[in-house]
C-alpha cells in the first residue's frame, strides 16, 4: 500500500489493521511521533491526515486513503525553517521533557489552520492532549503568539 507522508510517497507492506503510528515509527522509522497510551486517550501520537488531527495509535493504516496527505512532526518545518507554531514553542519555552510535544504541536497546527485566532475556550476544547510535565500554560500562550505571527 502507498502512503504519502510529508510529501514523500512510501510503499509499505503491512497488515491493514496495524495502527498508522506503528507504520510511521517502526516501518518508516520516523520516530518523532510518540506512543504513550495506545488507546486514543493522550494525543502523543497525533499526526495530520489531510490537515485533520488524528490519534495515529488508534487509526488502522488500512483506513488511510492512498491520496491522503499525512504530516508528522518531521514535516512541520518547511525547508529547514521552523513553522510559526514551532517558533512560538521555543519563544515561550514550552517543552519540558518534550515527549508529548510532537503531538501538541500538530494538534495546535491543526487548530490554527481551522481557527486562525482561537479563543481560550476554543483552545480548551481542541487541545486535549496530555502533558505530564504540565506545559499547558505555555502551550496556550504559544498558540496565541503563533496566531498573531
Amino acid at each position: 500500500m502507498k502512503l504519502t507522508i510529508n510529501g514523500a510517497v512510501h510503499d509499505v507492506d503491512v497488515e491493514p489493521e496495524m495502527p498508522l503510528l506503528w507504520v510511521i515509527r517502526d516501518e518508516l522509522n520516523l520516530t518523532g511521533t510518540k506512543y504513550s497510551c495506545g488507546v486514543a486517550a493522550c494525543g502523543a501520537c497525533t499526526v495530520l491526515v489531510d490537515g485533520q488531527p488524528v490519534r495515529s495509535c488508534s487509526f488502522p493504516v488500512g483506513g488511510v486513503s492512498e491520496t491522503a496527505a499525512i504530516t508528522t512532526i518531521e514535516g512541520v518545518a518547511q525547508g529547514g525553517a521552523l513553522s510559526r507554531v514551532q517558533q512560538a514553542w521555543i519563544e515561550h519555552q514550552t517543552p519540558q521533557c518534550g515527549f508529548c510535544q510532537s503531538g501538541q504541536i500538530l494538534a495546535a497546527t491543526a487548530l490554527l489552520n481551522e481557527i486562525p485566532q482561537p479563543t481560550d475556550e476554543e483552545i480548551d476544547a481542541r487541545m486535549s492532549n496530555i502533558c505530564r510535565c504540565g506545559s499547558y500554560p505555555r502551550i496556550r500562550a504559544a498558540i496565541h503568539a503563533a496566531a498573531k505571527a
Binding site: 510518540k34 504513550s36 495506545g38 521555543i90 517543552p95 496530555i130 504540565g134 505555555r138
Partner: protein, 761 residues
C-alpha cells in the same frame, strides 16, 4: 494486609534511607553512615594519598574528549572555535537543569553565553558527582571548618565510591551547581588567565575576561579555544575565590533552554526511538502481583506470527521479540501466562489504608521528632482536643514516556541505551544483572520523557531488558505498554494521619500531636513550619508489600496535604482567617512570612475577604528541598458538583534563582502534577494487582482543567533551594482548603474529586 498493625514500640533510630533523593531503603547501613564512617576512617588517607582535583582528568579527557578539543576541567570542553561544552553529571528529566548548570559555569568564567552547549557526562566513575558526595558527607550539617578546604577533594573520591550521578531531590542546582559548577568555572578561569599571561609575558593579575575573551590592556586578546591546551599546564587550588551574588551576569537571567530546539522538531531521541541494525522490539507482560513469578506459559500462540522473531520467558515475565512493536504486542497479548502471585496475592489498598488509620490511632509508634510536652498536653485535654484523620492513596508516576530501554549483548559486552536518573548506578546495576564487570557495560544516554522519580533506583525495566536481551544476539528495544507501565510502577505510598491539637485562649495551638504512616524521605517532611512550643510527631512502621518509589517531592507530597489541611482546620476552629492565622504562627520566620504575604497579595486575599469572600480561595505553604512555596488556589464548584480550579497563585523563595523562566516553569509544572494527584490520582490494589491501567481510569489534568498560574519569585539570598519538586507539596491542601471555603465541607481523603461535593448555595 500488611504487618503494619504489628508495629511495635522500638528505639527512635532513624531508618536507613536518608538521602535527598528519595532513595528506597537498602539493606545494611545507610549510605550516609558509610560515608561518614569512611570519612572518619579513610578520609585522611585519601588526602594523604595525594588525591588532586585533576587526578581524573586524563580519564575524563579520554571519555569526554573530541578530536581537536580540550577537556579543561571535568565539567568543560573547549573547541578551537571557542565553543564551550558544559558536561554535567545529571539526567535532565525535563526541568532544564543542564541549561541552569551551564549558566553557573558560564557566569563564573564570564563566558559568551551564545557559545555554550550542554552534554550529559558519560556514565563512568571518572564523572561521579563530587558535589553530591559532599552533601551526603555533610548530612544536615556544615562541613567542619578544618575540613572545608579538603572537602571538595575528599568528597569527589567518595562520590566515586558511591557511584553517584543521581538526579532527584532537587539537588542538581543547589549542590552540583552552586558547589561544583561554580568551582569548575573558577578553575577554568584560573587556568585560562594563566595560560594567557604566560603567552603574553604579563602578570596574571593584568589578564581579564571580557566579552567571553581573554584580554590585556596592551590590546592583546585571545579566545578560550586558543589558550585551552596551554591552560592544562596550570593546576588550580582546591578552593578558589568565587564571584559574589552582586556580580552575576548569566545567573539570574531567563536564558532559553538549550535542550528545547530538538524537542520541537521531533529530533530528540528517547530510548524507544533508538534504531540499530537487526534490532528487535520487545513487548513484555510481567507478573501483575508484586513479588510474583511466571508459573508457566504456552508460547505457541505467539510463535509463527508475522514479524515475531522469538518468545522468551524470564522468572517473572514473558516477552515477545518482533520487527515491529505493534506485532510484538499483539503476539504477547495472545498468550495466557499462568502466574504464581506468591505472598502478596491478596494485597488490597483499601485494607492497607484502613490498617494505616488504625495504626496512626494506636499506641507504640516510633518517634519522628518532638519538642516540649505535646503528648501530655493532648492527653490532659481529653476529648477537648481537636482530632482529624486524613488519608492519601497510592500514586503512579505515569510519565508520558512509558519505561523501557535498549539492551544489546555483543562480544562479551553489554550496551544499554536509555534514560536513568542516576546513569552511573544504572551501569553498576546492569553489570550485576548481566553478571559482567562494570567495565564491560556502556550506557548510552537518551532523552527522558519524564520520570518524576520513576527512573531513579527502581530500574525493573533495565533488568527486564537485560534478561530478555541475553537470550538473543539482536539488540532489544523493550517498550512497556501504558498498561504494563501503570501496573508495574513503584508507587508513592498510601498514607494516613491522625492529628490532634489543643488551642490556647488566643486560638493558637498550644500542642499538636501528629501520628502518621508511613515514613520515607526526606527526614524533614513531617515538620511543621510554625512556631509551636509543644509538638510531637510519630509514625508507624511496617513493611508494605506495595512496591515503593520516590514520587515528585516524596513524603512532602502527603505531609503537605496533612499539615496544611490541619492548620487550616485549626484556623477555622479558632474563628480566624486562615491566612492571618498562618501569619501569626510564622511571625518569627521572615522568609516564610514574605512568601505567604506575596501569595496572599497576588490573589487579592484581603480584598476578597473584605468583600465577603465571593471568590473561594484556599492557602497553603510548604518548605521543601530548601525552597519555600506558598500557593493560593481558587475553586469553583460547578452545578453538576464537579470541582474546577481556575486560578493558582504561587510565591516561591528559592534563595537564589539561576534561571527565572525555568524556575517559574517548574512551579507551574509542580502545581499541575500535584493538582492531577490532588483531584484524581488514585492507584488501587485489588487481589494483589493494580486496577488502573491507562489514562481512561487514571485521569490527568488537561488543558481545559488547567488553572491560570501566576508565579512570583522572591530571592531572599538564603542558600539556593530546588525547583523541580517544591511546587508540588502545597497544592492539594490549597485546593481542599478552598473547597471548604466554597462548601463548608472538609475533604480529608485524597483524591478530592472523588468526594460527592454539593454545589454552593
Amino acid at each position: 494486609m500488611t504487618d503494619r498493625d504489628n508495629a511495635s514500640p522500638e528505639s527512635d533510630e532513624t531508618p536507613a534511607a536518608e538521602t535527598p533523593s528519595g532513595r528506597p531503603p537498602r539493606k545494611g547501613p545507610s549510605r550516609r553512615l558509610l560515608i561518614l564512617g569512611g570519612l572518619a576512617v579513610g578520609g585522611g588517607v585519601a588526602i594523604g594519598a595525594g588525591l588532586s582535583p585533576f587526578s581524573r582528568i586524563d580519564e575524563q579527557r579520554r571519555l569526554a574528549g573530541r578530536p581537536g578539543e580540550t577537556v579543561l576541567v571535568s565539567a568543560l570542553r573547549i573547541a578551537p572555535d571557542d565553543t564551550l561544552t558544559v558536561i554535567y553529571p545529571h539526567a535532565d528529566m525535563g526541568v532544564g537543569n543542564g541549561t541552569a548548570l551551564a549558566q553557573i559555569v558560564a557566569d563564573e568564567l564570564d563566558a559568551d553565553w551564545d557559545r555554550v552547549r550542554i552534554e550529559r557526562a558519560p556514565a563512568e566513575l571518572a564523572f561521579a558527582n563530587g558535589a553530591l558526595g559532599q552533601a551526603f558527607l555533610r548530612g544536615e550539617n556544615e562541613i567542619p571548618a578544618p575540613m572545608a578546604g579538603f572537602a571538595w577533594l575528599v568528597t569527589r573520591r567518595i562520590a566515586e565510591e558511591m557511584r553517584l550521578q543521581i538526579t532527584g531531590g532537587s539537588t542538581a542546582i543547589p549542590l552540583t551547581g552552586m558547589e561544583g559548577m561554580r568551582h569548575a568555572g573558577a578553575s577554568a578561569r584560573y587556568m585560562l588567565t594563566r595560560a594567557a599571561a604566560r603567552a603574553w609575558g604579563v602578570p596574571v593579575s593584568e589578564v581579564a575576561i571580557e566579552g567571553g575573551r581573554l584580554v590585556h590592556a596592551s590590546g592583546r586578546s585571545a579566545g578560550f579555544g586558543e589558550m585551552a591546551e596551554a591552560g592544562l599546564a596550570f593546576t588550580p587550588p582546591a578552593r578558589l575565590p568565587l564571584k559574589s551574588r552582586g556580580s552575576y551576569r548569566v545567573i539570574g537571567k531567563p536564558k532559553q533552554r538549550l535542550d528545547i530546539p530538538p524537542k520541537v522538531t521531533g529530533e530528540a531521541m528517547y530510548s524507544g526511538d533508538v534504531r540499530l541494525p537487526g534490532m528487535l522490539f520487545a513487548a513484555i507482560r510481567a507478573c501483575p502481583t508484586p513479588g510474583g513469578t511466571l508459573a508457566s506459559c504456552d508460547t505457541s500462540p505467539a510463535e509463527g506470527r508475522r514479524g515475531v522473531a522469538k518468545v522468551v520467558t524470564t522468572p517473572t515475565a514473558v516477552a515477545v521479540l518482533a520487527d515491529n512493536f505493534w506485532r510484538a504486542r499483539q503476539a504477547v497479548e495472545a498468550l495466557d501466562p499462568q502466574w504464581d502471585p506468591g505472598a502478596n496475592r491478596s494485597l488490597d489498598s483499601t485494607a492497607v489504608i484502613a490498617a494505616m488509620k488504625a495504626s496512626a490511632a494506636g499506641e507504640g509508634l516510633k518517634k519522628d521528632h518532638s519538642r516540649g510536652k505535646a503528648g501530655v498536653e493532648i492527653a490532659a485535654a481529653g476529648d477537648k482536643a481537636i482530632e482529624r484523620v486524613y488519608t492519601a492513596p497510592y500514586l503512579a508516576h505515569a510519565a508520558m514516556e512509558t519505561v523501557g530501554c535498549v539492551a544489546h549483548f555483543k562480544d562479551g559486552e553489554l550496551h544499554v541505551w536509555g534514560a536513568f536518573q542516576d546513569a552511573l548506578s544504572a551501569k553498576y546495576q546492569a553489570a550485576k544483572t548481566a553478571r559482567l564487570k562494570p567495565q564491560q557495560v556502556t550506557i548510552h544516554h537518551t532523552e527522558m520523557g519524564g520520570a518524576f522519580g520513576r527512573r531513579g533506583f527502581t530500574l525493573d525495566y533495565l533488568d527486564h531488558a537485560i534478561d530478555i536481551a541475553r537470550q538473543t544476539d539482536a539488540p532489544v528495544n523493550l517498550i512497556y505498554t501504558r498498561e504494563e507501565d501503570m501496573t508495574h510502577d513503584f508507587y508513592r505510598n498510601a498514607s494516613a494521619a491522625r492529628m490532634r491539637a489543643v488551642l490556647g485562649a488566643d486560638g493558637a495551638p498550644t500542642a499538636i500531636v501528629h501520628a502518621y504512616a508511613e515514613r520515607h524521605d526526606p527526614p524533614d517532611a513531617s515538620h511543621f513550619p510554625y512556631a509551636l512550643e509543644n509538638v510531637e510527631v510519630r509514625y508507624s512502621t511496617g513493611d508494605n508489600a506495595a512496591p515503593w518509589g520516590a514520587w515528585r517531592s516524596v513524603d512532602h507530597s502527603v505531609q503537605g496535604f496533612f499539615i496544611e489541611s490541619f492548620i487550616d482546620e485549626l484556623a477555622h476552629e479558632a474563628g480566624e482567617d486562615p491566612y492571618t492565622y498562618r501569619r501569626r504562627l510564622l511571625s518569627d520566620d521572615a522568609r516564610s512570612l514574605a512568601v505567604l504575604d506575596a501569595a496572599a497579595e497576588m490573589s487579592g486575599w484581603a480584598d476578597n475577604l473584605a468583600a465577603g469572600s465571593p471568590r473561594k480561595l484556599g492557602i497553603s505553604i510548604r518548605k521543601s528541598f530548601g525552597t519555600i512555596v506558598c500557593e493560593v488556589a481558587e475553586v469553583v464548584i460547578r452545578n453538576d458538583g464537579s470541582l474546577h480550579v481556575p486560578n493558582v497563585w504561587v510565591a516561591a523563595d528559592p534563595g537564589l534563582v539561576i534561571n527565572p523562566n525555568g524556575f517559574a516553569q517548574q512551579m507551574e509544572s509542580g502545581v499541575i502534577y500535584g493538582l492531577t494527584a490532588a483531584l484524581y490520582g488514585e492507584i488501587n490494589f485489588v487481589d494483589g494487582a493494580v486496577k488502573q491501567r491507562n489514562f481512561w481510569d487514571y485521569q490527568m489534568v488537561r488543558m481545559a482543567d488547567c488553572p491560570r498560574i501566576e508565579v512570583k519569585i522572591i530571592e531572599s539570598g538564603a542558600k539556593t533551594g530546588g525547583a523541580g519538586e517544591p511546587g508540588t507539596p502545597p497544592i492539594a491542601a490549597a485546593v481542599a482548603n478552598a473547597v471548604f471555603q466554597a462548601t463548608g465541607e472538609r475533604l480529608r481523603d485524597l483524591p478530592l474529586a472523588k468526594a460527592p461535593i454539593r454545589a454552593a448555595v
